[in-house]
Symmetry: C4
Subunit: 297 residues, 4 copies
């Protein structure tokens, strides 16, 4: 998406500010955009509160238009400073950005466009822009790596949860009367999810003794199997952190493998680890393995 | 369960498709059966929703029969392509498969067979077939291994939970009035389970100050001891993952497997593990390791 | 508590059966007593259910007396086969055992003895006898060790939880009206416990927007800090399991310290680890280990 | 904050008692103050219970004044025994201590001072003084270190939770009718927090099938992602405990601390770490820093 070298220096400068975040103005732009997103999302949210809508409805309306103009300007700016804007326009973020603008503009043209305003809520997705802030990138990658590596185990866990709520939902449907809220299997499965995840709304709860025994079973099960994703993920995070810390250098002297990242000498036999540089101790004959001088002596 | 070599090649081919999953048609068959199971289970479930039953009751009825015919065909196919079908018929999956078919057929013959239809819900158990998909087998084994090794600790934990809910259920029964829902000890134990597992329906909740103090104790206890199964399981998963990283080198001396990844000598018989490099002890040139005085003796 | 050698052989035999669990009859006795305890506790519990009491009240009454006689006999048996029964009588379990018997007998003599029957619930404490079953002793010790070592951290955590619920309970009391259930600070603290531990009965819940914001904060806090005891305990369990697995033998050859418990040779330099026995490789006769041909060469 | 050497010996002694906790009288003072804080906080709390206020209102009033006088005396004592009391007065604890006293005194002078009494609740913050008890300091530091090191990951997690509740709150607002309690997006977000954190009051719960499907998704999500902070924190605590086991040997060659427990040579300069044994590389003259004798040889 980088502008070609033939583009004007203004466009290049704009590109660096708008699309990257490794300079001061770029970070300032990022923070300004994110603040505007958060504020516009807050405006939309608060406008749904009846009492606030009555009092500040007009203010919200103009704020809304202000943000729409601002984001329209930002959108055009992004298109302007790219050589091949198509890639951006049809990218995930590009479509989200457009979807955040369209409803407001369409409501001007179309009579039923008002209905489209619900799409404005999609704008909330732009909040994920925050993730581009460099501070979080590394941490996110570590967590993402751990999640990726444990994805099969987590899928297996989710599948087990799905099976359990299906089975227990069906069982409780047979046991409990419809008057207690267990009117159908899907609804009973909803109850099973509420119970297994230990949420426990209490909007549907068992009334028969047998139903309460089965519920207790589901609760203890849900309470205990929480250990599974946590255990899997803990192990993966630990592995990630562990890998961060150890180099994969093998000691040429004794073959020991797990040296800390900043180690220069093998902790077990004292051998110089960096084969490309001379051992500072050895003067020059590069007797890489001190352990051998023993037999020499 | 493998068909004998004397069986027709069609039966052999069918066997590989129906019972195994290591070829393309076998995987296609697996996926088709699993899809049919999921759809038939969904049909049964949605049929219990009053509004859907009214509108699509007839459709559901025919779908149900379609699936019954399909599964009957699959059942007969499985029996056909086995030499000793008895083993399958009386296996766990064989009985489940039969139990999923019988109710529909019996309801044709017997007048009260309709009542047997609840057994259809057993069909939901077939959903576990998904576990046969090879992708999950390894992950499942790792988790299963961790669960197996921690089963005594988890049992001990479950026993402690059982004791705690019995004791706290009895105590709260003495403290709280029956009008608040604590009408008997079993019901109070149900409340204790709801509270200790942090589900918290709120269908029964303490009203006296002392009862609320005891409840708070149960809550904090339940909140804290969740750490026990999680900690135990985390440790076991980590150990499993650790074993994964064990080298699969077999000692040429004594045949011991499972050496740690950084081992150079068999921990049981001291044999040099790396067959491609000379043993540093036996030669004379590169006496890399202090332990080499053995050769000096 | 062991009987002196002068006691009759019957008493010695009884002692081994009643107080220990390392022989077959002793284990049978243990299981019989534990079964009786569980049954008697179940009787007491089920007797509190109004409908069951009506129908089986008389049966429960006689069962109750049967168990009382049984436990009285067991109690006397324990006293009989000890030389210094005082130690047992005034031990924790001795007092529990007595407390489980007294109420029934006192209700015969005293007119108001009926009131003492609530002490019968103490009998439930005897359920912990199950813990004496040898299978659980080791597992229990590992968990106990981990709990002991993390007790200061867990206390610190519980203190933090106590402070948080006090502070947030006071804040919500100022924010929410009494009509929503927040009638006093202690009651508001009860609400804070219900919320922080993610139990969430819903018997008291915030109604003002500010109260709901504060509640959300408490919930997210409670949801997140659960990681603290779990993390601490996971780490301790892992350490326990780790220690189980590694010997503390140091390799006399290269000084490597973490050898697996069953290692006989250093995995890094191949040195014989057991200093008190001769290296099977260095001698000539007992060529127990194939690796020893090294010395032959 | 230490008093200068010119101060009277009484002030010095008082300083050690009031501000430190390494002698017996100092610990006694600490415990007395903490007890008084806990009691005064309990008094304030119990006074808000209507029934207790009616009966013991007068007692609470005088207790309150007793504690106010006590804390005023302690406050003046702290100021007296410091050379530069300003630092204390404007420190966090100094302001809390003052804020705990002022309301009571102001209520004497000002007519509306009664309203200030709510600030008394701030006194509860003094409860954190307990943390100064030395036993907890080390444990606290370990946990604090683990929290500090995982703060970015935890922030990222909290941000994800915030985004999820915003998005799911907006979606459920569109799906569910206002009559079910979803009257505005902020309120729907409150519901999402209640659900995602598995608290589940049940004061607002979905009634439409689609709403229940979305809720189930939120619940399973909340149930599963709890693994993230727990995994991160577990890993960090384990690392902290691991560091504990680092030897505290300082390298005689380069002064590097924190060598792994099984290290025999400094990982940075290759120096032999064990001063009591000869360096296996150096022949025998125990020239402790091999880096030098190599060139000598």
């Amino acid at each position: 998406m980088k502008p070609s070298s033939s583009s004007s220096s203004l466009r290049v400068r704009l590109f660096h500010i708008v699309f990257e975040s490794d300079s001061r103005p770029a970070r300032a732009f990022d923070i300004a955009v994110i603040s505007a997103i958060v504020l516009s999302v807050l405006t939309i949210m608060l406008d749904t509160v009846a009492s606030l809508h009555e009092r500040y409805g007009v203010l919200f309306f103009w704020l809304e238009w202000g943000f729409t103009l601002l984001f329209t300007f930002e959108y055009l700016l992004r298109i302007y400073c790219l050589d091949r804007p198509k890639n951006y326009v049809f990218s995930f973020w590009g479509l989200i950005d457009l979807a955040a603008l369209l409803p407001s503009w369409l409501s001007l043209v179309l009579p039923g466009g008002q209905a489209l305003l619900v799409i404005r809520f999609l704008r909330i997705l732009r909040i994920f822009r925050v993730l581009r802030l460099t501070r979080f990138v590394n941490e996110g990658q570590l967590l993402q790596g751990a999640l990726l590596r444990s994805r099969h185990k987590i899928l297996l866990f989710l599948f087990t949860v799905l099976s359990l709520v299906s089975i227990f939902g069906s069982i409780i449907f047979l046991v409990e009367p419809a008057s207690a809220g267990f009117t159908s299997i899907p609804r009973s499965i909803y109850w099973a999810v509420v119970t297994l995840t230990t949420v426990g709304y209490g909007d549907i709860s068992p009334v028969t003794p047998l139903g309460q025994v089965i519920s207790s079973l589901v609760m203890v099960l849900g309470y205990s199997i929480l250990a599974v994703p946590t255990g899997v993920f803990s192990a993966e995070v630990m592995r990630s952190i562990h890998f961060e810390r150890y180099s994969d250098e093998v000691c040429p002297g004794c073959g020991h493998e797990k040296h800390e990242a900043d180690a220069r000498f093998c902790k077990l036999c004292g051998t110089w680890l960096d084969e490309n540089a001379p051992d500072p101790r050895s003067g020059g004959d590069a007797a890489k393995v001190p352990g051998s001088n023993v037999s020499a002596g």
